[in-house]
């Protein structure tokens, strides 16, 4: 069944889009990530124009993080104050992202920048994740062989250089007294990248909060979800105003598929070991990055690209 997208101005197969939303939702439930970094490329590779794909994934991330944040809210596992600080910086970053997005689109370089950024960004994050997870798997195996209990991951209470920065603020729920500079930098850069690339950034936010700010693991996911929800809501509005490429029909199909898929993913994820999950996620992230690199390097079908600037 084909359905015509009013903003993208082309028809798509409802089932294909629904299946994509569902598959990415499954993965996002499985790994506890938003899945924007998979959904945007999937849409791009299936022929949706880059600007529409990036801009339309933002409301889909709003929907998926809303249902996640709701469940953490009920369990009081969100540091609202920290999320607000992150969100404020994220909104400013999102404004920069949307501004650059519109400029690049007009200059005809948006596709290239998106592909390059995905390659570099996902390539490096994926490699890091994979190395860390494989290391953890090997360590656990060695520990099991030697009959000892595996050491828990190092989570020292020791302070690093980040904790020596000025302008400190107390975050009660996280039991932290830290400088707001790294908080704003993390929130701002993820808001910027997320808006530019159509990703929520949870897979960067969560490790950044844990390893850089030492936010307790029990509040980290809920806090990250709330901040992503806010930033992506701002990004949706900004994209709607700036480039007018948010397609509500496409977004709705993706949301419904994603919300359903996430439920199955979450229950499946409980059966897998943590480091195995992280290794799989790293492999997936790396794979998407490599796919973009291959696309950039292969000789294109057409040596010329066409951009329609609007009515003459």
């Amino acid at each position: 069944m084909e359905i015509y997208l009013p903003i993208a101005e082309l028809p798509v197969s409802v089932f294909t889009v629904f299946a994509m939303g569902g598959a990415v939702g499954f993965i996002s439930g499985l790994f506890g990530v938003g899945g924007g970094f998979l959904l945007t490329p999937l849409l791009i590779f299936s022929g949706i124009p880059h600007p529409v794909a990036v801009a339309t994934v933002t409301p889909q991330i709003v929907a998926s993080s809303a249902s996640g944040a709701l469940s953490y809210w009920r369990r009081r596992l969100i540091d609202v104050k920290l999320a607000l600080f992150l969100f404020t910086a994220g909104a400013i970053g999102a404004a920069f992202g949307a501004w650059l997005f519109a400029i690049l689109e007009r200059a005809g370089q948006l596709n290239l920048v998106i592909s390059l950024a995905y390659t570099v960004f996902l390539g490096s994050i994926g490699t890091l994740m994979l190395t860390e997870a494989v290391g953890a798997i090997l360590k656990a195996r060695r520990a099991r062989k030697s009959g000892r209990k595996p050491q828990p991951a190092r989570r020292s209470g020791q302070h690093n250089w980040i904790h020596r920065l000025p302008i400190k603020v107390r975050f009660r729920q996280s039991r932290l007294y830290i400088s707001i500079i790294p908080v704003l930098v993390i929130g701002g850069s993820i808001g910027f990248l997320g808006t530019l690339l159509g990703i929520g950034g949870g897979f960067i936010m969560v490790p950044a909060l844990i390893y850089l700010l030492r936010v307790p693991t029990n509040v980290v996911i809920g806090t990250s979800l709330l901040q992503i929800l806010g930033t992506m809501a701002v990004a949706t509005v900004l994209h709607s105003v700036n480039t007018k490429t948010v397609d509500v029909v496409l977004a709705l199909i993706l949301m419904v598929g994603g919300v359903i898929g996430a439920q199955f993913g979450a229950s499946f994820g409980l059966k897998l070991r943590g480091e195995h999950l992280r290794a799989l996620l790293g492999l997936l992230v790396l794979g998407v990055g490599v796919r973009f690199l291959v696309n950039l390097m292969l000789t294109p079908d057409h040596l010329y690209s066409m951009t329609i600037l609007g009515g003459g």
């Binding site: 809501a233 419904v256 040596l303 690209s305």
Partner: protein, 268 residues
């Protein structure tokens, strides 16, 4: 002598053809005065883009009308039908390989090219009309995309123009089909034009050009509207005109869907 009038008509026609063509050029392409005229009609004056829109076909019908004094032309009539969509400004960029990666390089802009252009005819345009007339009437994809300032001369621009035509052709937005206009009787013709699903909306102009013995005899123009309708139309207008409100609306839809999902699949 039954042949005499026909021969006479042909001689007059042949003698007049260059004059008519020049006159047409000078008069800004007003249809030349001739004994023939065309009455044409579309199978539908409107193409509606609805939620299940997957492209459309529109038939163009027409009849050649002669006044009482004119007799049938020996070689028969030839017809070319053009359909042109609203114009748009297009930029073509050449991809260059830089350090192993394909990046967008030099660009040429093409203002006011038709977003959709199809030309259908009874025979190849070269056989129907003289090159002069074909150029004056801009019959064919050869004449698309020549406006605007070329960057670095015509020769440098031509590959970009060809790429524009090729890309549009691949999307089904530019069509050139000889032999797809059929005469069902001596004077009654029909053609079917296809519009792909990604057809831009706006006002289209359907023009029927009538020829005989390479002479341009008459024109007839019809309007065709391609428009989104119902929900698609409302959403598009909403997104264009009240983009801030539309953005907030999309966020509300997302929050509602997420909340519903969270409530329906409550795990805790």
């Amino acid at each position: 002598m039954a042949v005499a009038p026909a021969q006479l008509a042909r001689m007059i026609g042949a003698a007049c053809a260059p004059v008519l063509a020049l006159a047409a050029g000078a008069l800004g392409l007003a249809a030349p005065a001739s004994a023939e005229s065309i009455v044409a009609s579309l199978s539908a004056p409107r193409v509606e883009i609805t939620s299940n829109f997957a492209g459309a076909e529109i038939s163009v019908f027409g009849v050649v009308q002669r006044d009482a004094q004119t007799i049938a032309r020996r070689g028969g009539y030839q017809v070319a039908i053009t359909i042109a969509g609203p114009t748009e400004d297009v930029v073509l960029r050449r991809k260059d390989r830089v350090a192993g990666i394909w990046v967008s390089g030099e660009a040429q802009s093409f203002p006011d090219v038709p977003s959709f252009y199809s030309i259908q005819s009874t025979a190849p345009i070269d056989d129907i009309a003289s090159p002069l007339v074909a150029r004056e009437l801009k019959l064919g994809l050869l004449y698309v995309g020549h406006g605007g300032q070329p960057r670095g001369g015509i020769a440098a621009r031509e590959p970009y123009r060809n790429a524009l035509v090729d890309l549009k052709r691949e999307q089904g937005l530019y069509v050139e089909e000889a032999g797809s206009v059929q005469f069902l009787t001596d004077t009654f013709f029909r053609a079917t034009a296809s519009f792909p699903a990604a057809v831009p909306d706006g006002l289209y102009t359907v023009t029927v050009h009538l020829f005989a013995d390479q002479a341009h005899l008459a024109d007839e123009s019809l309007d065709l509207v391609v428009a989104k309708s119902g929900f698609e139309q409302r959403m598009y207008v909403f997104a264009q005109d009240d983009s801030l409100l539309y953005g907030l609306f999309v966020v509300a839809v997302a929050l509602l869907t997420g909340w519903l999902g969270g409530v329906l699949f409550r795990r805790d």
